[in-house]
């Protein structure tokens, strides 16, 4: 884990200062998470250098809370939303600040598939990982959703440790490609 963190940390170092400022200025419209965002922001700032800034979207507020806390403990900066439309709005207003979007697939208003498409349109370099509780495996995903480019896929429920590994591997892949 430490080695992977160092790789990612290097990749993100040029964005750190901006991310820090953006994170402090972040205005999260999601009332459920607003208080939690504020508290965890302080926690993050106490721990020093963040790994990367993530946008998490899931219409289940319990899942969002758990993921947000767990990933923040692993040194990620996290903005979290239960409303995908608000998440997209937040993303578009500050796309360059985000390194990766982690989204549920089946959400009303705007599905994870649609969100992924819009995120890639706005900022092709941002990585997208989709997650679902349903029986669609990674290998089947491209057949089911051929027009949507995603960088990873996870099956819920997933532990924070495994999710962190997945996120780091997707971010590290970008680093390797750049080299």
């Amino acid at each position: 884990m430490q080695a992977a963190l160092v790789v990612v940390d290097s990749f993100l170092s040029d964005k750190k200062d901006k991310d820090d400022n953006d994170y402090r200025n972040q205005s999260n419209n999601d009332s459920i998470l607003e208080k939690e965002n504020s508290k965890n922001e302080d926690d993050n700032n106490d721990k020093g250098k963040p790994v990367a800034k993530l946008l998490i979207v899931d219409d289940d507020s319990d899942i969002v809370q758990v993921l947000k806390r767990g990933l923040q403990k692993n040194s990620f900066l996290v903005d979290a939303f239960t409303n995908p439309e608000e998440a997209l709005q937040s993303f578009k207003s500050n796309a360059e600040a985000y390194c990766l979007v982690l989204s549920d697939v089946r959400m009303p208003r705007l599905s994870g598939i649609q969100l992924a498409r819009k995120v890639k349109e706005a900022s092709p370099s941002v990585k997208v990982i989709l997650m679902t509780s349903f029986e669609i495996r990674d290998s089947e995903f491209s057949k089911v959703f051929p027009s949507t480019h995603v960088d990873g896929f996870v099956q819920k429920p997933i532990g924070i440790k495994d999710l962190t590994k997945k996120i780091l591997s997707v971010i590290s892949e970008t680093r390797r490609r750049k080299e």
């Binding site: 219409d59 089946r106 959400m107 009303p108 208003r109 599905s111 649609q114 498409r117 349903f134």
Partner: protein, 210 residues
């Protein structure tokens, strides 16, 4: 027709009296919690009604087949919520074919007619087993998964294909829309959805505070 989500009795009355066998209708629900309340209350009421009827008969009959096809929760989650609502015999209802719980995605993908085939097969089985019929509570979230006007057209065509059966129909169909999805449709698309005399029932969030 609009009813607040806390008005369970009115919602069930609508299920029982406004929609008859052979008809298809549209339900718009405000959130997943309300959708859960609707299917849970329906299953409970239907089973207690069957128990009541059977106690009056010499030969008990099997209940209507109840199909619950969800999109925003897993089949295990449906079972969990039914059990949590006090239905202790979920697995036996599933085993004897009275309750069918499916992921709507698997019936709509890759061909949207898959759901119609499933309902038709349940309708045939209900007849063979001497049941009153089938109630199909189906979430339409699948049609909103990919987005785009093409999908809305496909949805409208699909709803139009669910023609009422005036004779011999034994299926009560409820196409259930999450309000967040329904609101993404244009006004003319909403009108087209309700064609063929479909009844539209909107469950709104309660305005009263507890």
């Amino acid at each position: 027709m609009r009813i607040e989500s806390e008005n369970n009795e009115s919602i069930m009355k609508w299920f029982d009296e406004e929609v008859r066998d052979g008809e298809n209708s549209i339900i718009i629900y405000p959130n997943l919690q309300t959708f859960r309340q609707i299917y849970t209350k329906y299953v409970k009421d239907q089973l207690s009604k069957e128990d009541e009827n059977n106690s009056k008969r010499n030969e008990p009959s099997l209940p209507r087949i109840m199909l619950i096809a969800t999109f925003y929760e897993t089949t295990d989650s449906v079972k969990h919520h039914l059990s949590a609502a006090g239905l202790q015999n979920i697995q036996s209802l599933i085993n004897n074919g009275s309750l069918v719980i499916v992921d709507a995605f698997s019936s709509y993908y890759p061909n949207v007619d898959g759901m119609k085939k499933l309902v038709a097969s349940l309708s045939d089985r209900a007849r063979k087993e001497g049941r009153d019929g089938v109630t199909a509570i189906v979430d339409m979230g699948f049609f909103f998964l990919f987005g785009g006007d093409g999908r809305a057209t496909e949805l409208i065509n699909y709803e139009a294909s669910l023609a009422p059966k005036t004779e011999g129909g034994n299926v009560k169909g409820f196409s259930c829309y999450h309000g967040g999805n329904y609101d993404t449709l244009k006004d003319d698309q909403k009108k087209e959805l309700a064609q063929r005399q479909k009844k539209v029932f909107e469950v709104t969030e309660s305005t009263t505070t507890s």
